[in-house]
Assembly symmetry: C2
Homo-oligomer: 129 residues x 2
DNA sequence: GAAAATTGTAAGGTATGCCTAACATTTTGT
DNA sequence: ACAAAATGTTAGGCATACCTTACAATTTTC
């Protein structure tokens, strides 16, 4: 029975995943800068994510995402991407504003609503191109 | 300098406002049932809202919203209404699902994004009727 | 007009998520 | 290689937002 991640943990996971995709590795300090939290807070979050088997790490060791972790993270990233597209290309917000809203909404939108928005965005952009 | 309300306090305010509109009065227990929290939690929230001058009440007394409180509450309700309309009439979710998503997103959407969505919803429904 | 039921509050507890300060470990630079 | 700098961790604190339990006040009912 896997329980839903908190918004906060989803944020950490998302950043870690994006970082690994770009740079192969992530350090706590990268995450801390990206999310504007203290290094201590990152340590806490890493412990929680490790407990949930979404990543593996030892004290002072490097951060490795598990398959399950990637799965969860890609899920969040997908929500973000679609929402950002919606706000930018359909609603007409600038990139920054679109991203900020996507960041917050990605944690609270239901799966059903997300799926429908994916459809809507695709159809809308098709019809209006 | 008025600081942003937490999602939680916005929820309380919204329920209180809706209740007063419908029934003239609200009791702590109504709020508690509506939000699925304990009566004790309602007391806490009422204290916080009273501290912020959004409502007035005394121990065991009735709950009266201030003008400022109504203003804030109407604001939240407006966000909810528009988002619900969007999810129901444009995205095609059923009423319940639309409402649940509106409930969560209303607390995190930016003012700018909200305004643009209002425009979008109006224009879209106009063009597609 | 009490006793019973309902409603409201206070006290004390839990979990999350953040912080700072101090200390541990690792990495860098010479 | 080793001192200095950077990074990571721990410990202890704070705020929010819940909870339960016990008690206080009010309302209902007979």
């Amino acid at each position: 029975m896997k329980e839903k991640l908190t918004s906060s943990l989803e944020d950490y996971l998302e950043v870690i995943c994006n970082y690994i995709d770009k740079n192969k590795i992530v350090r706590a300090i990268d995450i801390s800068k990206e999310l504007n939290v203290s290094r201590a807070s990152v340590t806490e979050a890493l412990k929680k994510l490790a407990n949930k088997k979404l990543l593996i790490y030892d004290r002072y060791g490097s951060i490795i995402m598990t398959e399950e972790g990637f799965k969860e993270a890609r899920n969040v990233v997908a929500r973000h991407t679609t929402l950002q597209k919606f706000f930018e290309e359909i609603i007409g917000l600038d990139k920054t504003e679109a991203s900020q809203n996507a960041c917050r909404i990605e944690h609270v939108i239901s799966e059903q609503a997300f799926n429908k928005i994916v459809e809507f965005v695709e159809k809308y952009l098709q019809d209006n191109k």
